[in-house]
């Protein structure tokens, strides 16, 4: 294990997954530091689930290297399985077991404790973590969608995995449960667990993740903090609406010659424009207007939302076929 691998909880190098002639993941490179809640977002077919399945040892990639906590996932499958906790999308549960039995089975298989009482204790802890203590004796298949998600999350927590891979864990959860999930993931991260979580709802991930990345067509489009991803994908573009006391038409002409300004429209004594640039450049623009003597009555900034960015990505996929 080299020093580099030691610092990173997840390392993916040149990962490629093919289904016939379709490239699901295309030479993906990714690094996730320890203790992060790292989000992976992308439209349907972006390659999220394939990436997760390779990381979780459920699928052999065409090629590439994957390390979880320094362990080569492709070479040391059993070792990797001890450190990873995986929760699939639309997490299923068996029809013939009760919630407690389901969790006790996994606790035993993961060797959570050598004693039965120890395993029961851990199962109770995990059920409490997902607020399902009262459903311990319920049949797994009788649970609601949201409860099922929480049971599988509890299963994933049982063996205290060092790396957790959660594929769309929030789907099917009500707002309260989402908040609880967010808090639980943050608690885990603060205890040193690395959480890699996917969603196709970017704003949801932005709320719960310390950093995130966006995938499309098997490739990584951007990675970093939510702000950095927004800057990279939205090109820092925002819409500005400025209301002037007078000289609006003159202001339009002045603004037309400035860098980063586009799509200027004059309406109701105000001006709406698109601006691409950094916050400093935006501040310079404002200062310029004041220096030129344009008296501003009101100012409004509207950023393109994460959802709009993703919709843009998905629409460009559709256009390109």
């Amino acid at each position: 294990m080299d020093a580099d691998k030691g610092e990173m909880a997840i390392q993916v190098r040149d990962l490629r997954v093919d289904y016939g002639n379709f490239i699901a993941v295309d030479d993906l490179r990714l690094e996730v530091p320890r203790g992060e809640v790292f989000g992976l977002v992308g439209p349907n077919g972006a390659g999220k689930t394939s990436t997760f399945r390779v990381l979780a040892t459920l699928m052999e990639p065409t090629y590439g290297e994957v390390y979880l906590d320094g362990v080569d996932v492709l070479e040391n499958v059993e070792e990797a399985r001890r450190i990873v906790g995986y929760m699939p999308d639309l997490a299923p549960v068996p029809r013939d077991l009760r919630v407690r039995e389901f969790l006790e089975f996994h606790a035993a298989a993961y060797g959570v404790s050598s004693s039965r009482s120890g395993r029961r204790e851990r199962v109770a802890e995990c059920l409490a973590e997902v607020a399902l203590e009262d459903q311990a004796e319920a049949w797994c298949h009788r649970l609601s969608r949201g409860q099922t998600q929480r049971v599988v999350l509890a299963k994933t927590l049982l063996h205290r995995p060092r790396v957790m891979i959660l594929d769309e864990p929030a789907s099917g959860l009500d707002p309260l449960a989402r908040r609880d999930l967010r808090n639980a993931l943050r608690r885990l991260a603060s205890a040193g667990t690395t959480v890699f979580v996917s969603s196709h709802i970017l704003s949801e991930l932005a709320e719960m993740c310390t950093s995130l990345c966006v995938m499309n067509r098997g490739r990584l489009l951007a990675a970093g903090t939510a702000e950095e991803v927004w800057q990279a994908l939205g090109n820092g573009r925002r819409e500005l609406k400025i209301s002037f006391l007078k000289r609006a038409a003159e202001a339009v002409r002045w603004l037309g010659g400035r860098a980063g300004v586009e799509d200027i429209r004059e309406a109701d004594g105000g001006v709406t424009l698109g601006f691409s640039g950094t916050d400093d450049e935006q501040a310079d623009l404002m200062e310029g207007l004041i220096r030129e003597g344009f008296r501003m009555r009101a100012f409004e900034e509207k950023r393109s939302s994460f959802e709009e960015i993703l919709v843009g990505v998905a629409e460009s996929n559709r256009r390109d076929g």
Binding site: L58, R81, R82, F105, G111, V112, S113
Partner: protein, 552 residues
Amino acid sequence: MKQEMEKARKHSWWAVLSNPIFRRYARSRLRPRGLGVALLLSGLVAGFIFALARSVAMNRIGMEISDAERAPLVGLVVLQGVILFVLGTAQVAGGMTAERDEGVIDYQRLLPMSPLAKVLGFLFGLPVREWAMFGVTLPFSVWGLWRGEVETAVWVKLYGVMLSTALLYHLTGLVTGTVVKNRRWAFLVSIGLVFCLYTVIPQLAKFGLVGFQYFTITPVFREALPGLLPRDAGAAVETAQRLLPTVKFFDLDLPEAIFTAFSQAGLILTFVWMLCRRWRRSESHLLDKGWATGFFVWTQVLLLGNALPQVEPGNLFPSRGLTGLVGFARPQPPDANEAVAVIGVYGVFTVVMLWVFASMITPTAERQRAGWRRARKQGRKRLPVAGDAASGFGWVALMAVAGGVAWWIFARGVVESKWFPGQVVDGGVLAGFLLVTVALGLGYQALLEWRGARFVGLSMLLIGVVPLMAGAVLGTVRNSLTPVAAWVMGISPVLIPAYGAGALLDLSELPALLVRAVPAAFKFWTALALLGMLRVAWGLWRERSRIAAGEN
């Protein structure tokens, strides 16, 4: 604490009772409500068989007590067979498919247990209720064996082989459940496969391929039968059984139970190997190329070792076996055409085996492309020869040669026996047989690798089945069309080995209408098959070169 965790984390494959997967199924399948009904039913049926057979033996037939105690034994063995072999196998196949159907199989895949531990967990866990039902019937058997004074050696052999046979059948169900994706299909396919492997194929014993019956409990049950029946009936059966062949493996005289265990062990190991491969990597071929080739050779050795010793006593020939069984005074010497037919059946079986093994180790074009992408990325110029992505062509060529040689050895054993003095099977026949196995085996493999399973399936239907149907209809129209029918049926690769035996062996005494048609059709269609194989192999080579170069 950490040490405790590490200790607890390791699940030894042999500790079945503490295997979490076994315990998971013990929990779900041994719930009092479902189990109670199952135990009640099996107990009732076993009790009924026990009471009825004893009562009839004692009160109606007037047997002595120790004889009457034996009366229910055969019925109980049959009931136990139904519980373990039929219900157990269906449960294993259905249960395994249900795991995938429900989507929870990925959880099992992720468990940090060795593949073997997982296989054993499922193998003993899924049919745990059927084992419990079997257990309920045991007290009745134990009573009968004890009070009926059945020799220990008899019941130890019988129940030993019953257990190994149950494991073999359950493994068959497990393999089917792992491979077949649809739940209903898995159930049907597993029952079909069990029926085919352990009921239909053993019938080939009647045509010289006696080895296959040792995959079943039948030979040991037959051997144990005199000891299980009331003494008078047992003695009669024993007398009849003296006419049956004893089991031999080349020059070795082996007890039925030992040879059955030996035969089943190869199949059990192979099934376990298949399952371990699939648990390690779900995309793996069922068998790797080396194991498949080894298993093919092992099967041929098993068949030859078991069949050749039956030639001199004449037990290999269906007519002598039949006349012996029905008690004809003097069984006739085997007919020459009977010998040719037996050799033909061996050839057909060998070719079919080649196709089955070729299907198991031949990679799809997608898999090859992925393999080459990986190889290029790793800077390699070749694919690993035994890897799943590598071509199966060379391996099938090895099997084809082994099969051709085995077929020739079998033919020599039969033809150069005391039954056909002066007859010789020369090197020319070996060349002919090799031509058949190589052309048909490699042709199939190359086509499968080049054009895919769908194309091969359709081709087999059109070339393999339709000519048989057309020829059968033509042959019934009028006698003069019989040679034409022989030509048409000869198109089918399934029949070419049988034609080969008829055409190449001097022993063959074909009817007048076929005496020219069969050899001519054999030569023509085999030559065409060979040319076809070369053409397909060329196409495959070009396609593989393109894939290797990354052109598509």
